[in-house]
Amino acid sequence: MSATRTLSVGAIIGESLLRPDGTPKVKGEFAYASDLHADGMLHGATLRSPHPAARIRSIEISAALAVAGVRCVLTHEDVPGRKTYGMDIADQPVLAWDEVRYVGEAIAIVAADSVETARHACSLIEVAYDVLDPVSDAQAALEPSARALHEGGNLLRHVKIRHGDQAARADVVVRGDYEVGMQDQAFLGPEAGLAVPAEDGGVDLYCATQWLHADHAQLVPSLALPAEHVRLHLAGVGGAFGGREDISMQIHVCMLALHTGRPVRMVYSREESFVGHVHRHPAWMRYEHGATRDGKLVYVHAELLLDGGAYASSSPAVISNAACFACGPYDVPSATIDARLAFTNNPPCGAMRGFGAVQAAVAHEAQMDLLAAELGIDPLEIRIRNALATGMRIPTGQVIDGPAPVRELLERLRAMPMPLEWRPGDLLPGGVANVTHGEGVRRGVGYAVGYKNIGFSEGFDDHSTARVRVLVEAGEAVCEVHTAAAEVGQGLVMVQEQIARTELGIERVRVLPADTGVGSAGSTSASRQSWMTGGAVRIACEAVRVRLADAMGGEYVAERVAAVVGAAPIEETREFHHRQTFPLDPETGQGDAHVAFAFAAHRAVCDVDCELGLVRVVEIGTAQDVGRVLNPLALEGQIQGGISQGLGLALMEEIQLQDGKIRNASFTDYLLPTVLDMPPVRLEIMETPHPDAPYGLNGVGEPPSIASTPAIVAALRAATGQRLPRVPVRPEHLAGL
């Protein structure tokens, strides 16, 4: 019947529809969480631990309470319900009571008439500590003699993968040790929320987050309120990149609002933001690759250790990814992989774009280059000879039944023209500082390819929900789309609009503000929202179309919608689920754990001042398979932005710790790529339709951040001849000092 046929996609899907939030954003009128106001609003502030490890003997709040303008000071004793939170493992105290485990851990919260008063009051809270020696090294944390941060010890998870012949030997063997520093998401919009107490005894929270329902699931037990009395609304989100998947101010600001009976706003400063969200795990990796003389991989042995910091966050899933994708997108007959995640007294680490695959790619791509050099084979050629393809097994035993065009992506890089040679007048490393006239400058070219999972893995059913309503306004059909999916900047509001217009042929589509008034959309992470929430919007539209077609006598005609709907709006709600996945076997790491995979390859061209250790990235070329382009303009922006974060990790971005304390918690000291650092990106977009996904699309957000980092490091190695086993690469490493 015609109502269930797929309308011709391409009328709207695939076009560069402009984003509906663009106009308020360019006018400065878009309301981010930190912009919100309410009449009679108080301001919240947080007292945090100055120690990475200490026992708390006492907390004295009377001096803080005595400050004029202070409305309440709350500690762990005031948490109404569950005293801990966490997405999967609720191990993190809402407010610390007996022990603090990292610098920046929250101990007390204050609501006051002004931010300054609230912060001043925090400084008057007296906490007596017995300071402990911090466990500040991930390797040391796993020694039997190390002090355990949590019951169960410091090993949070050990993922073992045993694939193929465990005694395999090879003619050619290369070994390397690699290290990745701690990267920060550095979203520009600080953590912020406005909590408004409600007449029913509940609370409405307007906040910046990636997953409203996961926040809700943690707020409800800690606030000890009925689920329906806790309502979350997405405020404007100034970037996320994984850093808003965990709770930050949400529970605190609600506690303050419920306690005072007044609206309370909390906005973190940049320094506080650095301790207020999780980071990308630093990693130490030891690899051995064995290959035949003609460059075919025989085996990979990999040991990975990631520092999870003080609490679990999403670390169990990150370490699983690091293990699953430890070998890169290659046909590996035998693999022995041990990936461990340790608790330490360092800042907690969790989700960041690329999620475990980023760290592994730094190592497996360096290894492929070592192998190429050992065998005298071109770096692209060795990757092509070993390229993963549809129908092959990855080391977890899962057969890739979707697209895996690794060879094709690499061929596209091979066919890509090189940027012009340097000519007088072109920029040099050191940029406007003009530190060289070209002497000591050498150009290097490097290649890398990477992949990761799309959607949540290991049995998680991260479904999405959409409610679609068709009504008539001023004689015209209007479609409202309601989901709880977090728009964090990537353009999901626009994708939802495109899908509704495509499916229903209705011009006027309104994407309603995201809130918990509709079922979960799952997280805005794992490159999953176009697939999952896009899929939910699509099937909800289909359900509406079926009903309208029935009312029209069998055939759906968009032009007749207004007449047929009249005064009785039609509404349907649907859940979209991806295929079932399964856990990894704890001993062998075997299992069909993943929904789907996405691939991207990168070529970096870099000029390096080998004497001063300065770099100018001349160009990044990339080939990425996206399944199906939904919106070309938005897609290009995702790819270019993801590459800039990969460039940052390669060259400058690192949270520097000393005894567990972040030494560079500011944008003055934590360096981010500027427009002077970011080169032009040459894009090759492949469309291999994914058979399981709506419209054949695939996830696109994370792949640009995986292989871009190792491609740049490979170019730097080519230019300098240095080993460069660690990212971010520092000038002294490039200069060989």
């Binding site: 402009l18 984003r19 981010l672």
Partner: protein, 158 residues
């Protein structure tokens, strides 16, 4: 203390300004102009960029009292009654807006750049915008937006 200044063409008086308040804080919290953004509050990211008299400044680094008697133009003052400024339209059309937190500062910074140099080279654009951090776009589409406006002006279309 009381502060008198001109903001986006309107004379404004603000009571209860503290000596240590930044211009950014007063704009956002007391003048109900939250368009200028609070990303780093150290003058590193440019998201709070405004004009003070005719000079581009990070409003987080200017004490509010320094603006006494002076003219401030924020992102809210860039659009005209007729609609979006061509720079704003170009940001939308070029895909230069993602999360948008850097956008207000960039709009003002590009406005300043194109007022000084009507047809800047790529190098001039990069130098001029090096103080504005964007975490989402990788900057390429922001460069596109600036180029588009410059071309429009060269064609006499804007």
């Amino acid at each position: 203390m009381r502060l008198k200044l001109t903001v986006n063409g309107d004379e404004r008086e603000v009571d209860g300004v503290w000596e240590a308040d930044s211009l950014l804080t007063v704009l956002r919290e007391q003048l109900a102009l939250p368009g200028s953004k609070n990303a780093c509050e150290q003058g590193e990211c440019g998201s709070c960029s405004v004009y003070l008299d005719d000079e581009l400044v990070c409003s987080c680094l200017v004490l509010a009292t320094q603006a006494e008697g002076r003219r401030v133009v924020t992102v809210e003052g860039i659009a005209t009654a007729a609609g979006l400024h061509p720079i704003q339209q170009a940001f939308i059309d070029s895909g230069a807006v993602q999360c948008g937190f850097c956008t207000p500062g960039l709009i003002v910074a590009v406005h300043d750049l194109l007022a000084r140099i009507s047809n800047p080279s790529d190098t001039q654009i990069r130098e001029a915008l090096a103080g504005n951090i964007c975490r989402c776009t990788g900057y390429e589409k922001i460069l596109d937006a600036v180029r588009v406006v410059a071309w429009q002006r060269a064609d006499g279309a804007a």
